[in-house]
């Protein structure tokens, strides 16, 4: 058997091609939107606006990253919006109310998300509560707890000006110099770098690690995975924990950006994040998905929102257009994939 692998190179290449093509769809949508908006408004591509789009993507992008994992397992997490808020509030509690160092507050905030995600995971895997229900419950609980802890008022970070720098400073800036001159010293805020760093971590987790492998396996056939001796409960819990952790990071970013923890915000953000994941080509039935797609999906969402605003499209029409584009992109994706 000399030709034991008859089509090895070709095959993986053609696989790659189809994968890339699929990603290209969301990417194509993004490019089309960008071109269209640039043509329709000269303000769209202004440096400040581009940065604005990036910042607007940061939180939603981070949430979407986390929920990508959950969706690949075939689950759903409706709690990420309010868990994000809960994490922001906890960060506020640590830093502003209990006067802890910023680092402790940030860790505390992220870990709050981790804990909420872990709870979701336990409910879903050991107690077999369906993901939709468990996370819907968590959505309410996290929302209520945020309000209770914050005593219904925003928590401000005025005593710790450094906190705002986490998202809005530009200490990691590498291109600093070149932009400084042209763009009135307006640099690239950390939030953007954090988003990309989170995406790289997410991508690494998903494609290189055992966690990622089991994420796909669970989504593809959880029972077969279990019968293969994988401790599915533990890994499923891990996946929701990862998702919660990303939501925690999102909360810190949100708090830092607003320089305050806003306890009432958050509900509805899960839908934006899920929409980003879906636009990015991840199937809600589980088993497949990519981080790159999710990031592109998140950008599609924020470019759309920004562009329609730049064009001063009436808000009620913005809502209609967003809904329609969501369906159209997913539909085209499906048609492409079927071919």
């Amino acid at each position: 058997m000399e030709k034991s692998l008859p089509i090895p190179k070709n095959f993986s290449l053609s696989l790659l091609r189809s994968e890339t093509a699929r990603r290209l769809l969301a990417f194509g949508a993004l490019i089309i939107l960008i071109i269209a908006f640039s043509l329709l408004s000269e303000n769209f591509l202004r440096f400040n606006n581009v940065i604005g789009i990036f910042i607007a993507t940061a939180v939603n992008g981070v949430l979407a990253l986390g929920v990508t994992f959950v969706i690949i397992t075939g689950g759903i997490d409706l709690s990420i919006g309010t868990v994000m808020t809960f994490s922001a509030v906890m960060t506020g509690m640590f830093i502003a109310k209990w006067d802890m160092p910023i680092a402790v507050g940030v860790m505390g905030g992220i870990l709050t998300g981790t804990l909420a995600g872990f709870t979701n995971g336990v409910l879903i895997s050991w107690m077999r509560v369906p993901p939709f229900v468990a996370t819907l419950g968590m959505m309410y609980v996290a929302k209520g707890l945020s309000l209770i802890l914050s005593e219904l008022r925003p928590i401000y970070f005025y005593d710790t000006p450094l906190f705002r720098e986490i998202a809005m400073g530009n200490h990691f800036n590498i291109f600093g110099q070149s932009f400084d001159i042209t763009y009135r010293g307006y640099d690239i805020p950390n939030a953007i770098w954090i988003l990309f760093a989170a995406a790289i971590v997410g991508s690494f987790l998903l494609s290189k690690t055992i966690l990622g492998r089991y994420t796909f396996a669970l989504g593809s056939n959880a029972e077969a995975t279990r019968l293969s001796g994988v401790k599915v409960n533990i890994w499923k819990t891990a996946v929701y924990t990862v998702c919660g952790t990303f939501a925690g990071l999102g909360g810190v970013l949100m708090a830092s950006r607003l320089n305050s923890a806003q306890p009432a915000l958050g509900q509805g953000y899960e839908l934006d994040a899920i929409a980003a994941v879906v636009i990015g080509g991840t199937a809600l039935t589980g088993g497949e998905g990519t981080i790159l797609g999710t990031i592109i999906g998140a950008f599609v969402m924020s470019v759309l929102a920004n562009g329609l605003r730049i064009l001063s499209v009436p808000q009620e029409w913005q809502i209609v257009v967003t809904g329609a584009i969501l369906v159209v992109v997913v539909y085209i994706d499906i048609v492409r994939r079927r071919q």
Binding site: I210, A217, T225
Partner: protein, 513 residues
């Protein structure tokens, strides 16, 4: 050499409404192939699932390698003990690659024990695939494989555990003879190495070839263990069923002079179906033979409207029909019994009754679309009786029935729909001898009633026994057609290996025989 590996005694297991095992017993020595046989629902799979840590037993003892009363709490625990199982139903992750499937749960790891080493996974997988003489790229996704190839992947996966105990629950159900031979070669070499192999199969003729001992189960009870070499098949069968069964000598079907009911012309679908032409007469059984992936299922699905075709014409009773959807096929009197009943045949969470009438609800409708429940119940009860489907009642969920009984439900569905053309895709896959002969009887009876039947089967004896005519496929083409009088296993194999690129060595061997 022959140490006792496993001893299961007094095993009890109940499911809601079903006492699946009572005082079941099983013994496995190292270096033996121990066949486990019994009718559908006898409890074979259940017993082995207990050994593999999938179900927990209600009572009883398991002695493993002289350790009394081992507790096997999970599949992982079983694996750690050195017990692995190939399941009756495919248990693969379709979105993962072949290699990823084989090593799921045991991925070679890199740094921090947290990163997977895909290169190593692929090369190790390739080793096992080559051991099975399987030409498969380990990087291909399992969803892109045929059922047969998926089954081979399952086997490769089970082998990769290097277990002391290997349970095979109907591993050959989806395989054709060549693959079965490969598999038997592997089983023999494992036996040599002292591995104990549990072999569950309904193909009793295989047992003589491969098994050392045979344990027979009936209704969840242990019946007897006999030596495969000495026990006659008849005796095994009578132990299985506790009665003598209908086993008429294969009646040589007479040539059919009835009118044509189905004619397929120039059917094409990509590279899966290439220019398929054939016809089917009233009261005729046409056997479709071929190796795995020959395209028989594709043809059946295409005729049935389950998949779109590129071109082709279909005539039912001389009239051109357009079938774009299974409902068109049903309307024109065509029924299709798929090869994968769980995925394509049954609504598992629904009751037997609904499954039986699913294809013919329109016959049971009153005003306002009300379903006449009393009628459907009677029809379902009749079907259950006629096919002797073992179920506590027609209200039992299909999920809770054994594989063979599930298959009978699917057959009942098409009988209830009363179609004049029936396509049976592997109708006896995973069905015990008793039920099998009942189904053969049924097929003959249906043919006598004037139905045209296409029977796709990978079991050549079955093809030879049942068909009036045999059509052989290879790589999406019809490579040969034989009248039953001229048909032999060798000739069928010859056509089945008529690959477009000049045939194959194996075909020459087959032809030379």
């Amino acid at each position: 050499m022959s140490d006792t590996l496993v001893l299961m005694e007094g095993i009890e297991k109940s499911f809601p409404g079903v006492h699946a095992l009572s005082q079941a017993r099983f013994e496995l020595l190292s270096g033996e192939v121990h066949a486990l046989v019994g009718e559908n629902g006898a409890g074979k799979s259940t017993l082995m699932k207990i050994l593999a840590g999938i179900y927990s037993k209600d009572a009883g003892h398991i002695t493993f390698k002289n350790r009394p009363d081992v507790h096997i709490s999970s599949p992982r625990a079983a694996q750690n003990l050195g017990i692995s199982m190939i399941h009756q139903e495919l248990n693969l992750m379709p979105h993962l690659t072949v290699a990823q499937n084989i090593f799921i749960g045991r991925e070679p790891r890199r740094r921090w024990n947290f990163m997977v080493d895909d290169k190593k996974t692929n090369s190790m997988a390739l080793d096992y695939l080559q051991m099975l003489h399987l030409e498969l790229d380990p990087r291909i996704k399992v969803s892109e494989l045929t059922v047969a190839k998926q089954q081979m992947v399952e086997i490769a996966k089970a082998l990769s555990f290097n277990s002391d105990v290997l349970i095979m629950d109907e591993p050959t159900a989806a395989l054709t003879d060549t693959e079965i031979d490969e598999l038997f070669g592997i089983i023999r070499s494992l036996r040599q190495k002292g591995v104990g192999i549990v072999y569950i199969s309904h193909r009793l003729e295989e047992l003589k070839k491969i098994a050392d001992r045979i344990t027979v189960m009936r209704d969840g009870n242990y019946v007897n263990t006999v030596s495969a070499a000495t026990a006659p098949i008849d005796q095994i069968i009578s132990m299985m069923v506790g009665r003598t069964i209908y086993e008429a000598a294969p009646e040589l079907p007479e040539a059919n002079t009835q009118p044509i009911v189905l004619e397929v012309k120039n059917l094409n679908r990509g590279r899966l179906i290439k220019d398929v032409n054939f016809h089917l007469k009233q009261g005729e059984i046409v056997g479709f033979a071929g190796l795995m992936g020959a395209g028989r299922t594709e043809v059946a699905r295409a005729i049935f409207g389950a998949d779109p075709v590129d071109s082709g014409e279909i005539y039912v009773e001389g009239k051109r029909v357009h079938i774009h959807h299974p409902c068109d096929a049903v309307r024109h009197g065509i029924g299709y019994l798929s090869e994968d009943r769980k995925r394509y045949g049954l609504t598992l969470s629904m009751d037997v009754e609904t499954n039986v009438v699913l294809a013919s609800f329109r016959n049971f409708l009153g005003a306002l679309g009300i379903v006449k429940r009393d009628k459907t119940r009677i029809v379902a009860q009749n079907a259950v009786e006629m096919l002797s489907i073992r179920t506590p009642s027609v209200q039992q969920k299909a999920r809770n029935l054994s594989g063979g009984n599930q298959q009978k439900i699917v057959i009942a569905k098409w009988l209830t729909a009363d179609t004049k053309i029936l396509i049976f895709d592997e109708p006896t896959r995973g069905i015990d001898v008793g039920a099998k002969s009942e189904i053969y009887k049924l097929l003959n009876e249906l043919a006598r009633q004037g139905k045209g039947i296409i029977m796709i089967s990978s079991e050549l004896p079955e093809i030879l026994r049942m068909s009036h005519r045999v059509i052989v496929m290879c790589e999406g083409r019809i490579s040969g057609e034989l009248n039953i009088a001229d048909a032999t296993q060798e000739k069928i194999m010859y056509f089945a290996t008529q690959r477009a690129n000049g045939g194959s060595a194996r075909a020459d061997v087959a032809a030379a025989d």
